[in-house]
């Protein structure tokens, strides 16, 4: 499973990535890999206008919010 962090490198994007890592570690989601999508065109193609965004296997789950690790974990456990 690919956990995609959509953002051009702002501090909120980094925070989201950190929360995603915590979620993966804490809930033992072993098949998850984090992927950073920093290219604006790629972000736009996914229909996201407000960063940071979170997508799982190409499906956008959230935009413009720094999710908590528990919120991220819900998306990930639902997907696997």
């Amino acid at each position: 499973m690919k956990v995609q962090i959509l953002g051009t490198g702002c501090s909120r994007c980094k925070l989201l990535e950190e929360h995603a890592r915590q979620a993966i570690a804490e809930y033992h989601i072993d098949d998850a890999q984090i992927e950073n999508i920093k290219d604006v065109e790629a972000i736009m193609r996914m229909g996201v206008m407000s960063t940071p965004g979170l997508a799982v296997d190409g499906v956008v789950k959230s935009t413009g919010r720094v999710l908590t690790k528990d919120q991220i974990a819900t998306f990930l456990t639902r997907a696997s």
Partner: protein, 316 residues
């Protein structure tokens, strides 16, 4: 209530005289910090909750269907409630243009969104009262609407970087949040913003308090009073590099006004601080050619200065 507490602490417990410079400066500092932090937490929470209903993806859909001038007005209004940070200015700009929102309407949004921001409003309300906060919102909206309308009239679409027009976005389903998710979002936002601005608030109020206690009362009448024509452009030029520091700047402006700075000049200064920012210009350079960037800055700067002159002429 805050005033009582502050007076009790400074004059009662510490035994300083209200007439002494130190006593008056310290009283000002404690009263203002307590009030401002209270307002910051409550109001940012409320605003963030409202904003959770207006993601930019939704704002875009409102704007793409509207004729130009009506679009400018709505874009400026939506700029208040749509969450925006300059780091996502580029995807937001491309998203608007790609959806067919006119360039001028997009600019109305880009001007209003940072200018009418929650921190500036709280600081204005807390330090000057609601009348001046409303005056700031109203003139900010007018500047945003008119700047966008002017840029729209100038037909500058050719000065947008070409690749912007080639991007084809897709529509994502806009997520609907539960009530609890909105609360979590709003609370997280409070932490984020307060964490970012608290030091500036303290520094601004401390400097303001110091000047309140120590600087002579007519200190600024000669350089920034209503009769000084160059005060407004000067205020704008000084305001540009102070980006995002509305939190630190507004308490100082309050004292500058006490010491004789004219109302319009102060408004111009605060608008320049919030609306014109160099970091945002650098970010927007990715989508705007230098000529358009310069036009955008000039139009907004002129709008802000006209507002300043207008208020200086009207309020005596």
């Amino acid at each position: 209530m805050w005033q009582h507490f502050s007076d009790w602490l400074v004059f009662g417990t510490l035994g300083l005289s209200p007439k002494s410079a130190l006593g008056s400066a310290l009283d000002f500092f404690i009263y203002d910090t307590g009030k401002i932090f209270f307002l910051l937490v409550i109001i940012i929470f409320a605003i963030a909750f409202v904003r959770s209903f207006f993601p930019p993806e939704k704002t875009k859909r409102f704007l793409e269907k509207l004729p130009e001038f009506l679009g400018n007005i709505l874009a400026a209004l939506l700029g208040i409630v749509t969450p925006f940070c300059s780091c996502s200015a580029v995807p937001l700009f491309i998203g608007f243009i790609e959806a067919g929102v006119p360039l001028g309407v997009t600019f109305s949004f880009l001007v209003s969104s940072p200018m009418v921001n929650e921190v500036a409003l709280i600081m204005l309300w807390g330090m000057f009262g609601w009348k001046i906060a409303l005056l700031y919102i109203a003139s900010g909206l007018v500047v945003a609407i008119l700047s966008g309308a002017v840029i729209g009239r100038l037909k500058l679409e050719k000065w947008v970087e070409e690749y912007v027009y080639k991007i084809r976005g897709s529509e994502t389903a806009i997520e609907t949040l539960s009530f609890k998710e909105r609360l979590v979002y709003a609370w997280g936002y409070v932490g984020e913003i307060v964490g970012k601005v608290w030091l500036y608030v303290l520094a601004g109020i401390a400097i303001g308090g110091f000047m309140h206690g120590y600087a002579p009362a007519d200190f600024l009448v000669k350089v920034a009073g209503p009769g000084v024509w160059y005060a407004v452009p000067l205020a704008v030029i000084i305001g540009v590099p102070l980006y995002s520091n509305a939190a630190g700047v507004i308490p100082i402006v309050k004292v500058l006004m006490e010491k004789g700075m004219a109302m319009g000049t102060a408004l111009s200064f605060m608008m320049a601080v919030t609306a014109l920012s160099l970091p945002e210009a650098i970010i927007l350079r990715k989508v705007l050619k230098p000529k358009l960037l310069a036009t955008y800055f000039s139009v907004v700067a002129v709008g802000i200065m006209l507002t300043g002159y207008l208020f200086n002429a009207v309020i005596k």
